[in-house]
């Protein structure tokens, strides 16, 4: 049996806003293989962020199964989820979310420290990664002294430095101009190719959609299309989920 990097089976999630129930995900089934470079796209409220939150173990599904690297997240405790996030998953957020009181290098080292990686190894890994993604020389700058694009690269470095199996990026280019966004996508794509890390990001941005090797479109909490691209044969993988969808 194939072990997917990420596998979702009939996943449902609802939120309550006062008396109103918002059905964010309506029975999503999905498999993502290791090393894929996947974008989820769709209008606001389509369920992109909820999907990433469930895959990242930041939230729990109401029903269905979410498996990441073979681990069924529904069966893990909060502590086990935190441990999984620390060791296996990297996050890149829309608004960079670096710790303002730490330097760029310290921000990147943060998760390594939490993992207990020795100092010399931390420094070497951060130095190498910074050089690879064009941040060399900026190690000692605080986030406030960096541009938006540089901050987001540091965020990518923080996510990548632990060599996770999976990177989740929630609209990583939303606050960047188009040239900077392309630079960031170059960095992420290069890392995806060189390390084999699976990337899943949500986006509104057509540029990002263009660069994705696989584009999953969502609407009203359902997958409406799932196409594999980037030189591969485009497959309109229309999934018939329990909640419906194309």
């Amino acid at each position: 049996m194939t072990e997917w990097a990420v596998e979702l089976e009939e996943v449902r999630k609802s939120y309550h806003t006062g008396p109103i129930e918002v059905r964010a995900l309506r029975g999503i089934s999905l498999q993502i293989d290791s090393g894929e470079f996947v974008a989820t796209a769709g209008p606001s409220g389509s369920g992109k962020t909820t999907l990433l939150n469930l895959i990242g173990g930041l939230d729990r599904a109401d029903a269905g199964e979410v498996l990441v690297a073979g681990e069924n997240l529904q069966r893990l405790s909060s502590g086990e989820l935190a441990h999984l996030r620390l060791l296996r998953i990297g996050f890149v957020f829309q608004t960079y979310n670096l710790l303002p009181v730490l330097t760029a290098a310290e921000n990147a080292e943060f998760t390594l420290l939490l993992q207990g990686v020795p100092a010399h190894e931390r420094r070497e890994r951060v130095k190498a990664l910074f050089a690879e993604i064009g941040l060399a020389g900026l190690e000692n700058r605080r986030p406030a002294e960096l541009s938006g694009g540089q901050q987001q690269r540091v965020a990518v470095a923080r996510a990548m430095v632990t060599k996770p199996a999976l990177i989740l990026a929630d609209e990583p280019t939303a606050n960047l101009d188009s040239a900077t966004a392309i630079d960031l996508l170059d960095v992420m794509e290069r890392l995806n190719r060189s390390t084999g890390t699976t990337f899943i990001f949500s986006t509104h941005d057509p540029q990002v959609m263009e660069r994705a090797h696989r584009l999953i479109r969502l609407r009203d909490g359902q997958i409406v299309s799932d196409e594999v691209r980037a030189g591969q044969e485009a497959v309109a993988n229309v999934q018939a989920t329990a909640g419906g969808g194309l």
Partner: protein, 430 residues
């Protein structure tokens, strides 16, 4: 660097994200501690001063007097010369000798003092001037003339209130009228019917203690004069007042004396027993001040809570990110408690500097209460208008500890709130 050190580093740097805000907060909290130290210093200084002045203008730290005198105040209750000599001998030879600063036998009675202008009822105190100087404050409070000499056999010193009433000056002649004391005979009957005695005396000094009950009533003569005018030929006295080097030794010295004089018809009282009103007032004052200190500490605590809570609320998103990337709730809580402790430490340093600085000034220059009580000092509490702060190391350690403990306990709530940051809600971009 371990993750523990990282948390310390994060806490410290987080504290200085807004240096002005941190310093203002630390200053506010420091002021709380400084107020506490100043309040305790003045309280303890005031009490020490009040006790010292109270006992030195009254019966001393420990007093030996005839049994029943405390309750009746009867001038006829006297100590025999034998009791006096036994007491003096014991205090000179026993191991408590070093605890005793002064011993003054006194003979107390009432009389009428007349000048050519007026007359006033007085409290007559017969003293051995040299001995009285070692116990009483009155010799130090002479405003006119001089205190009595040991060989002053026709002189009297009087309170400023009496001098005013009699319009007496230094050198004025006054007549002291006294009734000889009623002494029990060998068969227990009292001798009565002795005639009033009139004695011509010269005013040699006027004192002002600030206590109306003393200034308007007390006159002092030498002990032989008092014994003569009161018809006592056998060296009796009313009381033996003891001033100790340390007020706190009063109960021990009193116990030793009680044991030594156990066969004699005497009572040995500490100042708390002989001046119960003063002890009660000081007790009430203590209680009131503890309430005030509680208010100060509550304000300090609320200040810390408000500050740390605001810092936590402002950084909910950041905590969400920290949790998302793997920081455990306990580590988040430690980070917040670390920030709180760092802030508290800075506050304590500021508070100590400020509080000890002001206390040093108040302990050397004092606080002149005449600026506050323009119409007169509260007589029961303070005799000296200059109040000197006295702050013991124990008080300082207690204050610092209590503020530190309160700050630590209070920081648990914001830390708990930070640790409970809910994912993914905290990650929603506002």
């Amino acid at each position: 660097m371990t993750s523990g050190l990282l948390l310390v580093k994060l806490s410290w740097r987080n504290l200085w994200r807004n240096p002005r805000g941190t310093l203002l907060t630390a200053l506010a909290l420091g002021l709380g501690l400084a107020l506490l130290l100043i309040s305790l210093g003045l309280l303890d200084g005031g009490h020490e001063q009040t006790i010292t002045d109270g006992v030195r203008l009254g019966p001393g730290d420990v007093v030996v007097q005839a049994k029943g005198y405390q309750d009746t105040g009867s001038d006829d209750l006297l100590l025999s010369a034998a009791t006096l000599s036994t007491t003096e001998r014991f205090l000179q030879t026993s191991n408590i000798k070093d605890d005793v600063q002064g011993i003054s036998p006194r003979l107390l009675a009432t009389g009428l003092l007349s000048s050519s202008i007026n007359a006033a009822g007085v409290r007559l105190v017969g003293v051995i001037p040299r001995a009285e100087r070692s116990v009483s404050l009155i010799p130090q409070r002479m405003t006119k003339g001089l205190y009595l000499d040991d060989d002053a056999l026709a002189e009297v010193i009087i309170g400023a209130g009496i001098a005013r009433k009699l319009e007496a000056k230094i050198g004025s002649k006054v007549v002291l009228m006294t009734q000889p004391l009623q002494q029990p005979t060998s068969n227990g009957d009292e001798v009565s019917g002795k005639e009033m005695q009139s004695t011509l005396l010269r005013v040699s000094g006027v004192f002002l203690t600030g206590v109306p009950a003393i200034d308007d009533n007390v006159v002092e003569v030498s002990l032989p004069v008092a014994q003569k005018v009161l018809g006592l030929a056998n060296g009796q006295v009313t009381q033996i007042a003891l001033l100790l080097r340390h007020e706190g030794d009063s109960p021990l010295v009193a116990d030793d004396l009680r044991r030594e004089l156990s066969g004699a018809p005497v009572e040995v009282l500490t100042w708390r027993e002989s001046l119960p009103m003063l002890a009660q007032i000081l007790g009430l004052d203590h209680a009131f001040n503890y309430v005030m200190n509680g208010v100060i500490l509550t304000m300090v605590g609320l200040g810390i809570l408000n500050t740390i809570l605001m810092r936590v609320m402002e950084r909910r998103y950041e905590f969400g990110v920290c949790k998302a990337i793997g920081l455990r709730p306990g580590q988040l809580a430690i980070m917040i408690i670390g920030e709180s402790l760092a802030l508290t430490t800075i506050s304590l340093l500021l508070g100590l500097t400020l509080g000890l600085g002001v206390n040093h000034y108040l302990s050397t220059s004092g606080l002149d209460l005449r600026m506050v009580f323009k119409t007169g000092l509260p007589p029961a509490l303070v005799f000296d208008p200059i109040l000197y702060s006295r702050l013991s190391v124990t008080r300082i350690v207690w204050s610092v500890n209590i503020v530190f403990v309160i700050a630590t306990l209070i920081s648990f709530y914001p830390a708990f709130k930070a640790a409970r940051t809910e994912l993914p809600d905290a990650l929603k971009v506002l």
